[in-house]
């Protein structure tokens, strides 16, 4: 315990790390707030810039950007009615009407306090539950990791995309991209077409930057000339009575956010929408109807999406399964630093785990400071025209991709993935599952083969293990429910069940 506190304190005592966390949080707020820049984009570009750094420094910066970014989306949602990030969609519904009534400052203040509150709940859950889950996860076998990987990819694909088929396609495409190169088990080339460059595989950071940076920039090109509307800012520090009034709602929303964030494949976006929906159903007498600027509708999604940050770290650090797109990118960063997120991470490198908890906590403190200050300057920067922003994103993406291996071919990959990603986004595909597939694909491949070898290559034994082991059975059932719920069989089944219970 004392040891853990010591590791935790590293993030709080080294001035350089404190500075990096602060800088990351501040930068994250702007990244999250500027429509067109996303946390995923920023973290994937940052990985390539920080991979030569000490791992603690890189993590301090990334933790800050993650927290700042998830929060930052709310500011543009309130001030401009443009959610700076998908997790701020619900915030825009309630926050913008508040701003139009001249209460923008108060809305921002309340959002900040509740976001920080949610953030602490998520971190607390991470610190309490990750060690438990991690010791439990030591019992997981190869096939369980295979199942977790499939569930994670499918969840990302189906919850936010247009259709199940599109989610599954995107995930499988990612897995396929992850397969390119030398097979780590037999050293056979896969999809290399005799090219030496392809033997090393497709650099996944190039894929990340392409899909999240360039593709997003191309999508943003459609809304080049959307004018921004200015708002009046007055009181920012929220009233204590308000904070007290919404305390229980914030607790509830944070709980939802943490759990949704901790499910593999679901992150802040879904957490915010679910918490908003929950607040809508459970709030008996809102001061105003939902949708017209009620504070309950502002508190719930914002507490939830920041709580999801801590939650999303749980499966990432204990199982090696990312909780959402950003944690998929962060896993990529950990890989680059030679670390293996998974159940052994807490056993072998406890200092790393407690350091992450420490720097997330510190980032949350900085969020409170930066969230309540500098709002007037903020409105100026956010009005940065997209005509300037889009070329800048592309230059940063190119430099970032080049920086990984100093190889110009990687930049071509980035552009190719950017264009493919743009078309996929245009036709209703999500790019999140692709990246999850790239990251998880090799892990799933080796776990599949290990599980098959354990079953002595007998398909019957292999499949039997999925239902005969309790952990596997739970995961298999989860996967089957997900699959069946996507087929026409589901409504029929549900009707049957309801008829019986009636």
């Amino acid at each position: 315990m004392l040891e853990a506190l010591g590791f935790f304190a590293i993030a709080w005592t080294d001035p350089w790390l404190i500075f990096l966390t602060a800088a990351g949080t501040l930068a994250g707020i702007y990244v999250g707030a500027i429509p067109g820049l996303s946390v995923t984009m920023a973290t994937s570009i940052l990985i390539s810039f920080t991979f030569k750094w000490d791992v603690n420094e890189a993590l301090a910066l990334i933790s800050g950007v993650f927290f700042g970014g998830v929060y930052g989306g709310s500011r543009t949602a309130i001030l401009l009615n443009i959610p700076g990030a998908p997790s701020a969609i619900a915030t825009a519904i309630e926050g913008y009407p508040l701003a139009k009534r001249g209460e923008a400052g108060e809305a921002i203040g309340l959002t900040t306090v509740m976001s920080v509150f949610g953030g602490f709940v998520g971190i607390l859950a991470l610190a309490l539950f990750a060690p438990v889950i991690s010791s439990f996860a030591l019992m997981f076998q190869s096939r369980d990791y295979l199942l977790l990987g499939i569930i994670g990819i499918l969840l990302v694909g189906t919850l936010s995309g247009e259709s199940f088929a599109k989610g599954a396609f995107a995930g499988a495409l990612g897995v396929l991209i992850g397969m390119v190169g030398l097979d780590p088990m037999t050293a056979e080339g896969r999809f290399t077409f005799g090219s030496i460059h392809l033997l090393g595989g497709i650099p996944y950071v190039a894929a990340m930057i392409g899909f999240f940076g360039v593709a997003e920039a191309l999508v943003q090109l459609h809304t080049l000339n959307t004018p921004a509307i200015k708002q009046k800012i007055d009181r920012i520090i929220p009233r204590f009575s308000d904070v007290k009034k919404y305390f229980w709602l914030a607790i509830r929303a944070s709980g939802i956010g943490t759990i949704i964030g901790a499910l593999p494949g679901t992150g802040g976006d879904i957490a915010a929408l679910l918490a908003y929906d929950d607040a809508k159903r459970t709030t008996k007498n809102p001061e105003r109807p939902f949708g017209t600027g009620t504070r309950e509708g502002l508190v719930a999604p914002e507490a939830a999406n920041n709580a999801a940050v801590g939650g999303a770290h749980i499966p990432m650090l204990t199982l090696g399964i990312p909780g959402d797109a950003v944690t998929a990118v962060i896993i990529g960063a950990l890989f680059i630093h030679g670390l293996k997120p998974g159940p052994l991470l807490l056993v072998e490198t406890p200092h790393l785990f407690w350091f992450i908890v420490g720097s997330l906590t510190l980032a949350n403190v900085f969020l409170l400071i930066f969230g309540l200050t500098g709002i007037r300057m903020f409105t100026k920067i956010v009005e940065c025209p997209k005509a300037v922003l889009i070329p800048l994103i592309i230059v940063l993406s190119a430099v970032g991709t080049y920086a990984i291996q100093n190889n110009p071919i990687d930049v071509y990959w980035m552009l190719l993935f950017g264009v493919i990603g743009y078309f996929m986004k245009t036709y209703g595909f999500q790019v999140g599952p692709v990246i999850l597939g790239v990251i998880l694909g090799p892990m799933m491949d080796s776990n599949y083969r290990r599980a098959m070898l354990r079953a002595r290559q007998d398909v019957g034994d292999f499949l039997w293990a999925f239902v005969s082991n309790p952990i596997s059975l739970v995961l298999t059932t989860g996967l089957l429910i997900m699959l069946i719920s996507q087929t026409p069989l589901w409504p029929i089944l549900r009707r049957r069940v309801f008829r019986i219970t009636d």
């Binding site: 499988a172 037999t186 999809f191 191309l218 300037v388 592309i394 430099v399 920086a403 078309f423 083969r449």
Partner: protein
């Protein structure tokens, strides 16, 4: 983002779905080529599973795209809605940027790219755009070269100068 109703087929959607399916089939064939059906734990099994999922879901996507009603006649077409001139020009500029970067180096190629892209997207006074290019490039250079200490590409043309 898209102006058309998602229930309607977007312009070019059918072709895209067909391309995806063709790509998936080619990927499956290539995955089969790795080790065929010779064993259950060979290098080719998982790639075949992944590309198999792509073929099946690609088929579903194609069928559902083909069965959704086409966009109305007066709706904007492929080139005005999916790849308008802005996209064509910008992708062209990025391609030029990426090709020229190893030759001209980071500073020169980025300056050219930023200036052209700013000018094309914003259409303001060229002198103003030039100043903006210089300012943003200086900021990028200082942050990444000095703070992040990233190795920026040096051009083969002006090696040693920039």
């Amino acid at each position: 983002m898209m102006s058309s109703d998602p229930a309607n087929r977007r312009p070019g959607e059918l072709v895209f779905a067909l391309l995806l399916l063709l790509f998936s089939v080619a990927a499956f064939w290539q995955a089969y080529e790795i080790s065929g059906f010779t064993g259950k734990t060979t290098a080719g099994v998982f790639p075949m599973l992944a590309s198999g999922v792509m073929v099946i879901s690609g088929l579903v996507i194609l069928v559902s795209a083909a069965s959704s009603p086409p966009a109305p006649k007066d709706a904007p077409g492929f080139f005005s809605e999916v790849v308008p001139i802005n996209h064509v020009v910008l992708i062209g500029l990025v391609l030029g940027y990426v090709v020229l970067m190893p030759l001209l180096g980071f500073l020169v190629s980025s300056a050219l790219f930023l200036f052209c892209a700013f000018q094309f997207l914003w259409r303001k006074n060229p002198l103003y755009m030039l100043a903006l290019t210089a300012l943003t490039l200086a900021a990028i250079y200082i942050v990444f070269r000095e703070v992040f200490q990233v190795v920026l590409p040096q051009g083969s043309l002006f090696r040693g100068y920039f």
